[in-house]
């Protein structure tokens, strides 16, 4: 499957991509195997359900407490960052975020930006914006490097190249990396990536990273990673640009450990990652390394829309662990690319409508059986199915009285469907009519259509019983 700039993916295209993904045994196996592995690893980290429940409740409280004070905390964060010598930029839209970064790059005459993992940079399509002005952006997270080398996008927010087999990566490296011999050894493949990227860390003028937690009290940017590329990007080049969503702030340093502890255990089943990198300023006087300039770009890009609604605000509790995707039976079947958005899976279903609008994403909240596996594992207890249901409604109707319309409000309105549900409601709120309908349905069961929309794609038709429970119960009473 090819990945293109994915701003507007019509619903029909989602169905086609999902169908193609489901029919691809290789992809199915890759995702099933990887997700099973991650599920098992996570479960091993949480042997005691009660302890986990307590920790999730605390994490939820921290996030909700933080969001309740978001504007104050953002201002406090900015003050402390500026005190620490970090330059703070604000961007309302994806385009603005890219412009800010391009401006910094131009000031430094940078031709190459080496990037640590940042989903927000994916979200704002930074690489395309940089390419358009002649600046190369090189992904340095191994998974991101692999998908970028193949002209793709990440298929998972934590494990970007999870859809690829070792053999595919071996072929890719042999074809695309100058001087690389074909090898299927994972150690050797990683060694090839290491060598290529180390060159780039040295030569790049600017390093870019995401942020996992931005601490208002101390003016500290926290980065979570295993590989060390995040440290490289934030340490070796002269300039470090961090980009993050406005929701990533926390008030106090002591609020970080509970969230960090749940993040890594939920994401990959690790008690902690190899590196936890806390950045509170550029190179200080007398220090011999570290960037001379540090910038933080705070991105809105639809987050204030989610914030404005008391229920949808819960979306912003997310700490991007990916556990909801790992446990989602739909994501496991179709993988990340089928969604066509930066954030796939359950979290994608509740975040993307705010970033891209419901016109482009109304299919996403429907791509769920509402099984609830996502909210069951969510470390910050986001009620994902409730939010998906809410967004299904917003996509098909006008905003309720007193509510601000969402971007793309009502874009999936379908008069026929409106009629069907209205008729359904009439039938099911008029008991006598309902009983008459049931009587008819059972008496005319021989007329049951052999094709029943999507149901009979893989199932025999549904056929009413000869008599309803209503009738049985009535005759029993006699």
């Amino acid at each position: 499957m090819s990945a293109r700039p994915l701003k507007f993916v019509p619903a029909s295209e989602f169905r086609a991509r999902a169908a193609a993904a489901v029919a691809d045994p290789q992809l199915r196996q890759s995702f099933r195997r990887a997700m099973d592995f991650l599920i098992e690893r996570r479960a091993a980290q949480f042997p005691d359900a009660e302890v986990l429940d307590r920790q999730r409740r605390l994490a939820e409280q921290i996030r909700q407490y933080t969001l309740a004070r978001l504007p104050d905390l953002l201002e406090q964060l900015e003050r402390r960052l500026v005190d620490n010598g970090i330059q703070v930029h604000w961007a309302e839209t994806a385009e603005e975020a890219c412009t800010v970064i391009i401006d910094i790059a131009r000031r430094h005459s940078a031709k190459l930006i080496v990037k640590g993992k940042s989903m927000v940079s994916e979200e704002v399509e930074l690489n395309h914006a940089l390419a358009a002005v002649g600046i190369d952006a090189l992904e340095s997270d191994m998974g991101e490097y692999i998908v970028q080398l193949d002209g793709e996008k990440p298929s998972h927010i934590i494990m970007p190249a999870i859809h690829k087999t070792r053999e595919e990566i071996a072929r890719l490296f042999a074809d695309k990396v100058p001087g690389a011999a074909y090898t299927e050894s994972v150690d050797e493949l990683i060694g090839i990536g290491r060598a290529v990227l180390r060159e780039k860390f040295i030569s790049a003028r600017i390093g870019l990273s995401g942020v996992n937690f931005a601490v208002a009290e101390t003016g500290t940017l926290c980065l979570v990673e295993n590989e060390g590329n995040g440290r490289m990007c934030t340490t070796v080049p002269d300039v470090h640009i961090a980009i993050t969503g406005i929701e990533k702030v926390v008030e106090k340093l002591e609020h970080v450990p509970p969230l960090f502890g749940l993040l890594t255990r939920s994401a990959t089943g690790q008690a902690i990652t190899t590196y936890f990198n806390m950045i509170s300023g550029p190179r200080r006087a007398g220090e011999l390394d570290g960037p001379r300039e540090v910038h933080l770009v705070l991105v809105d890009n639809g987050r204030t829309q989610a914030y404005a609604d008391a229920q949808l605000r819960a979306t912003l509790q997310c700490i991007r662990c990916g556990a909801c995707m790992n446990h989602c039976p739909v994501y496991t079947r179709i993988g990340g690319h089928a969604y066509g958005t930066t954030y796939p899976g359950p979290i994608g279903g509740i975040v993307s409508p705010h970033l891209l609008g419901l016109a482009a994403t109304h299919f996403m909240p429907t791509a769920s059986s509402l099984c609830g596996a996502c909210s069951e594992v969510c470390p910050v207890r986001i009620p994902i199915p409730d939010l998906l249901i809410r967004l299904r409604g917003e996509a098909q109707h006008d905003a309720l009285h007193g509510h601000q319309p969402l971007l793309g409000q009502g874009a999936a309105r379908n008069p026929l469907l409106d009629l069907v549900w209205t008729a359904w409601a009439v039938l099911y709120t008029h008991p006598q009519l309902h009983r008459a309908f049931l009587w008819l349905a059972t008496r005319l069961r021989w007329l049951t259509p052999p094709r029943q929309s999507g149901w009979t794609a893989s199932r025999t038709p549904l056929k009413p019983a000869a008599r309803t429970l209503h009738e049985h119960m009535t005759s029993r009473r006699r």
């Binding site: 059986s369 609830g372 109707h397 409601a425 008991p431 309902h434 999507g454 199932r459 025999t460 549904l462």
Partner: protein, 260 residues
């Protein structure tokens, strides 16, 4: 979300209501009748309000809150006596117990009614286990069955625990564990119509796991999952039959001649 263990259960009542659910009503009335028989056998009378239709979940989960609310409202007052309301479906029970209070949150009077009803709603297996405290004696020949619990049943009502507890009471029944047991079967109400390719893939995986478990049949306390899996199996020509847990329990614990 699962509340197994945390709920306070009342003493055994003299009478209960049955909310039969729309799917059982139209497609599997036997399951509803067997639920009634199981309850009556314990000396409890069952009332079936004739005006019941559907809990409203199909519209609720499809993003038609207005229609869902109207249908939910039509059920809200069908159970005037303070008797327990028994629902032979985890997902419908979950709707009435957990979602009704949210649906009527904006109207204090209706909210009170919804909360009072929610307090009395029990999923069938939960009611059999914790309120009636049934002791089942198995009269069937030895068999292996797999248990599929619906997602709502599992996560909102703890049904996987209750159903297992009941099956364990049956001496001749061996529970076959299947792979990815906690995973969704792909039904998801209108999800199965809206995204047939994904839904079918999920159903196929579930069916294959059930077949691989070596079970002679599978049971479920949710009619939606059962229809999904049964009709998938039938289409594939596989010889595994699904049975609603109520019917299975009734069949196993009655002598052949008194079964119907």
């Amino acid at each position: 979300m699962a509340e197994a263990g945390s709920r306070q259960y009342p003493a055994k009542p003299a009478r209960v209501y049955l909310f039969g659910t729309c799917l059982i009503d139209l497609f599997r009335p036997d399951a509803g009748l067997d639920a009634v028989r199981l309850i009556e056998r314990e000396g409890v009378e069952v009332a079936y309000p004739a005006d019941q239709t559907c809990c409203g979940q199909p519209a609720h989960s499809s993003g038609f809150p207005e229609q869902a609310r109207a249908v939910a409202l039509a059920q809200l007052r069908l159970f005037p006596e303070p008797w327990p309301v028994i629902v032979p479906s985890g997902s419908c029970a979950g709707m009435m117990r957990h979602h009704y209070p949210k649906i009527f949150a904006d109207d204090p009077a209706l909210l009170r009614e919804a909360e009072a009803l929610a307090e009395r709603v029990f999923e069938l297996t939960e009611f059999l286990c914790h309120v009636l405290r049934v002791r089942l004696s198995d009269r069937g020949t030895p068999t292996r069955v797999a248990l599929h619990t619906s997602c709502a049943a599992r996560r909102e009502m703890g049904t996987h625990l209750h159903a297992r507890e009941l099956l364990e009471q049956l001496a001749g029944v061996e529970l076959a564990v299947h792979a990815h047991e906690a995973e969704c079967c792909g039904f998801g109400g209108t999800f199965s119509l809206r995204h047939p390719a994904i839904s079918s893939a999920m159903a196929a995986d579930k069916v294959e796991a059930l077949l691989a478990s070596g079970a002679e049949c599978f049971v479920s306390a949710d009619c939606g999952c059962m229809l999904n899996l049964d009709h998938t199996l039938e289409r594939r020509g596989d010889r595994l039959c699904g049975e609603h847990l109520a019917s299975f329990l009734w069949r196993r614990t009655t002598a052949h001649e008194e079964q119907r």
